[in-house]
Symmetry: C2
Subunit: 351 residues, 2 copies
DNA sequence: GGCTCGTATGATAGCGCTATCATAACGGAA
DNA sequence: TTCCGTTATGATAGCGCTATCATACGAGCC
């Protein structure tokens, strides 16, 4: 047992030749055709006659042949890989989007190579450089706040590029997302209309998208002449449910008559709710709570929590569809797609 | 602008030659050495004299050279890629583990290729076949319930393999995880000791790991002669917070005097808590709640929720470390690692 | 019947890198 | 001095596949 395991080393063959697995040449020989014909039969079946195709399929099955993607990538100067860059893996938002991307790809030949930028533009640049070096079929990157150098890298890349999660009018190539500014503005306007007057903003991480939601919040409050810098409570710490309660306490310490909070995301909103329960602050009567993203739990919380539903999964699906269309040479309806959002009004903001 | 975009096609060069990017030969020429020396300087710097190394580094920097991973993989019969298979992307459990894997890899040359099996052994088999065809440096797979065919594929693969998330004594190669059976048993024993007598099990998805937790639950109850099949309420539906409340209602309909629930995961536990709040069921006096995984929110919920803390992130870190050790030829302390779990007792089970 | 044209297949030559073997240079032991 | 072993570098030959050009062949046309 242990011997068995230790013998499993890096696996470099002693001899150079023959990886052990069948190659396209083996298939060709067995089928009695040239290697290039096998290649064509596998990639463009319509270019090969039915008889040869049958022979080749038989040979492939018999040998259990599977093409080597590395050799293919080298010869065709194009890897069947889509690079995907997300700023975080623990953030459910990106997990949903990733799921959409995987679902959109289905059983196709394209594989995902994922990179985690940790919300760092420099790390993003490093990863893009690395991804580009293998000539991916496409790149999907999060947000529109790339560094100047990154943007140039992307501009000169010879593959489709999709920027996701945000809305903007100047994408590198294509873009799918929604306006975080508008999301923040609509949520805040709703709180104003519901009759709340001392509406706080609670935010963690404060990445560019959070900043835009904050800007939307501020814009709505300023329009109603209700803005006050003291109402804003943020931290650079990554968001967690447990942070919501702390930030609410901080906010209340600054603004005793706070009567509503717009939370940068649902985790914080949930934390705020628990803190209110613990402190005996009645929701929504003494405190309204609004989240962002509309995770499943918002609907079932007690009281149920208002939130802004965002099209996370759809963004993933749509971005892949654009990539596939482009790769297949199909026309793209529009390179810039706004998938919008939807305010879900629930008990937590019904005064 | 639009022209700019539509001109960005698949990017196949009209001419075959020259991808445009510098190759190792360009660097070699500029540095006045042979290509193989450049290769060595980059991969095994100690094998090249300091002078040549300096020349080569300069040339690399000047040309902005980056090795082509595809060519490298083809020539060395080994791709700098680790295949990672997870059953779900939305499940925070795997997101945490993935984060551990990425963190463990750091800035190294190894890249992750991820596959989502959707809890399907057949899909897992397909993906493993696909991954293996590119000769990955290693494979990390979730669980120990592979099909027979998959297991054989893995046994004969010539790269390190780590099975993660579970504990077992017969891994394909290496294994890092913990015992879900024991987790379920410890949680249930705690409820018994706390004085609860009609302890239900609430489970969604019911994948193999959920099944083992259920088995642990049953084992504890049977030992105390408290087991009753009616106490178990499960569904194959994927887990969601909103499902917790539904399942609790189902459970109460079957067992009116239910006084505790062990939930298969924290999402369900949270849903159960909300349902109790809504229905006016006092926690923990009329109903105890215990979750599994111990997500951050369990600690701050009101009342705080008991849960079994699982080493998700650590499993990711550890599995990568084993892979790196093996690839570097370092000895592995033990191919089977039990990272354990820890019951976190909180208000929701303190009668 | 000779010609062009389109379709099906094949031969050749790499893609960019590294495994392998060969060679050169040098120091120390006999 | 001669021989051997060691270290640093290079030449060569692929890895497995596909782009490109070449060829064969039949259909259709004047």
């Amino acid at each position: 047992m242990t011997d068995d395991i230790t013998s499993r080393d890096q696996g470099r063959k002693a001899s150079r030749r023959g990886s052990g697995r069948p190659t396209i040449a083996d298939v060709a020989k067995l089928a009695g055709v040239a290697a290039i014909t096998v290649s064509r039969a596998l990639r463009y079946p319509s270019q090969v006659s039915a008889e040869l195709r049958a022979e080749i399929d038989t040979a492939v099955a018999q040998l259990g042949y599977a093409p080597d993607p590395n050799a293919r990538a080298l010869a065709s100067a194009r890897a069947d890989v889509i690079g995907v860059l997300v700023p975080s893996l623990t953030n459910i938002v990106f997990a949903d989007t990733l799921r959409g991307i995987y679902d959109g790809l289905g059983d196709g030949p394209l594989q995902i190579q994922m990179g985690n930028t940790h919300y760092s533009p420099r790390e993003e640049e490093r990863l893009i450089r690395m991804f580009l070096s293998q000539r991916p079929s496409a790149l999907i990157v999060s947000g529109i706040d790339q560094t100047e150098a990154t943007r140039q890298l992307l501009e000169s890349a010879d593959c489709p590029i999709v920027q996701i999660m945000e809305y903007g009018d100047d994408p590198v190539d294509m873009l799918v997302g929604f306006s975080h500014f508008d999301g923040g503005k609509v949520a805040t306007s709703h709180l104003i209309e519901a009759g709340y007057r001392r509406i706080g903003f609670i935010g963690a991480r404060m990445d560019p998208r959070s900043q835009r939601r904050l800007a939307g919040y501020r814009s709505a409050l300023e329009a109603a002449q209700l803005f006050d810098p003291k109402l804003v409570t943020t931290t650079l710490t990554p968001s967690r449910v447990s942070l919501g309660g702390q930030l609410l306490a901080d906010a209340l310490a600054k603004v005793a008559d706070l009567d509503a909070v717009f939370c940068n995301n649902d985790d914080l909103a949930m934390g705020v709710l628990f803190e209110c329960q613990r402190a005996g602050i009645a929701v929504p009567h003494r405190m309204a709570i609004c989240g962002f993203n509309d995770l499943d739990m918002m609907r079932v919380a007690y009281p149920s929590l208002t939130s802004v539903r965002t099209p996370r999964y759809e963004i993933g699906r749509h971005s892949v569809q654009m990539v596939l269309d482009r790769l297949a040479g199909r026309p793209i309806a529009s390179p810039i797609v706004d998938l919008g959002f939807e305010l879900q009004v629930r008990e937590s903001t019904m005064l």
